[in-house]
Amino acid sequence: MHGDILALLLVVGLGTYLLRCLPLVGLTRRRLSPGIEGWLRYVGPAVLGALIASGLLTPHHGLGFSAAGLGALLPTAAVARLTRNLPFATLVGVVAYGVLHAWLG
């Protein structure tokens, strides 16, 4: 293993860990204002919405969306809504996407 690559991986690993750890450990020791706690409550839905959008975008096509991805959203959301079963809903989404991707090309 090259020493410079090892050092790079350790630096990026440590930096990434600190970005995750410091806010969690630091902010649990101080009481946040209700306004900030209320705002933080919405970070989850906002990031999830962003991650879904980024997963549906087709690479290198401006604002193009994957037709198979958009088509697979509905059964995934419906199963998640009706069953609240995470693995099952994920599996339905994967199968729906696989079928639509093979069909639409």
Binding site: L10, P23, V43, I52
Partner: protein
């Protein structure tokens, strides 16, 4: 006679289920990373070490790409870390729910706070069963699948059939949808998710998706928070929805606390 009740807590069971769902998405992506790392000139051991210590999909792919292009140490490290700045929001968002955890447990569980683990944790907070056991099991299964997938990709490379790779490429998006839907209890939640999606799409169009995810978190959360504040009865409706949801899922914060004790 009292009924036999297995001593697996609701939180641990939900954590395992969530972890396996994430693993379904992680594994093929990790295989692709293992393959990309080898093509970039890393050894299988270096690829595995990258997944073991960095454990952040996007920046790992970028690192492999930069190394393949012969980027300098500083440029590669700075770019990879810049991609992970959004993780600051994750710890801050979960901190109010982790106050009673020992500090060493906060430090350990922070390691695995990836996009997907945070998404699962955020959904669990909204559904009332977030806790150390939930997060620990979710992260353990996810991390194992990420490292294992990297090794498979690094050693066996193109062994997965193309059709399976195509289908599994949607697994993480499907997982995010399955996590988001139960968390949408208030109109302001929908607005936060919608604005977050729009900002991410715009950022992607401008060519900066990773920073766009950070911006989407900030702008989307601000939009949802603003609407939640201005809509008078919204909070009350959300509280009721939360209680309804806890009944549907059979989980509650109280049960989580009891299970942990």
């Amino acid at each position: 006679m009292p009924a036999f009740r297995p001593r697996v807590s609701v939180a641990a069971r939900e954590g395992l289920r969530t972890g396996f769902s994430i693993a379904l998405g992680y594994f093929p992506v990790a295989v692709a990373f293992g393959l990309a790392a080898r093509q970039a000139g890393l050894s299988a051991a270096e690829a595995a070490l990258c997944s073991l210590v960095v454990y952040a999909g996007a920046s790992q792919f970028v690192l492999a790409g930069l190394l393949a292009q012969g980027a300098t140490f500083v440029a590669a490290a700075a770019t990879a870390l810049l991609l992970n700045v959004r993780h600051v929001l994750f710890g801050a968002s979960l901190a109010p729910h982790a106050r009673r955890w020992p500090r060493w447990q906060q430090a350990v569980l922070a390691f695995g706070l990836t996009d997907e683990a945070f998404a699962a944790a955020s959904s669990a907070v909204h559904r009332g069963f977030f806790g150390r056991r939930f997060l620990g099991w979710t992260q353990a299964v996810s991390y194992a699948s990420w490292v294992l997938g990297t090794l498979v990709g690094a050693y066996f490379q193109q062994s997965l059939p193309a059709a399976a790779r195509d289908a599994l490429s949607f697994a993480l998006t499907a997982l995010f949808v399955a996590l988001l839907i139960p968390a949408l209890k208030r109109r302001s939640d929908w607005v936060a998710a919608g604005v977050g999606a729009a900002v991410a799409a715009g950022a992607s169009y401008l060519g900066s998706l990773s920073l766009g995810l950070f911006a989407a978190g900030v702008v989307g959360a601000s939009a949802g928070w603003w609407l939640g504040r201005t809509a008078g009865k919204d909070g009350e409706a959300g509280e009721n929805a939360g209680r309804r949801d806890a009944r549907i899922t059979g989980c509650s914060h109280e049960r989580e606390v009891a299970a942990k004790s």
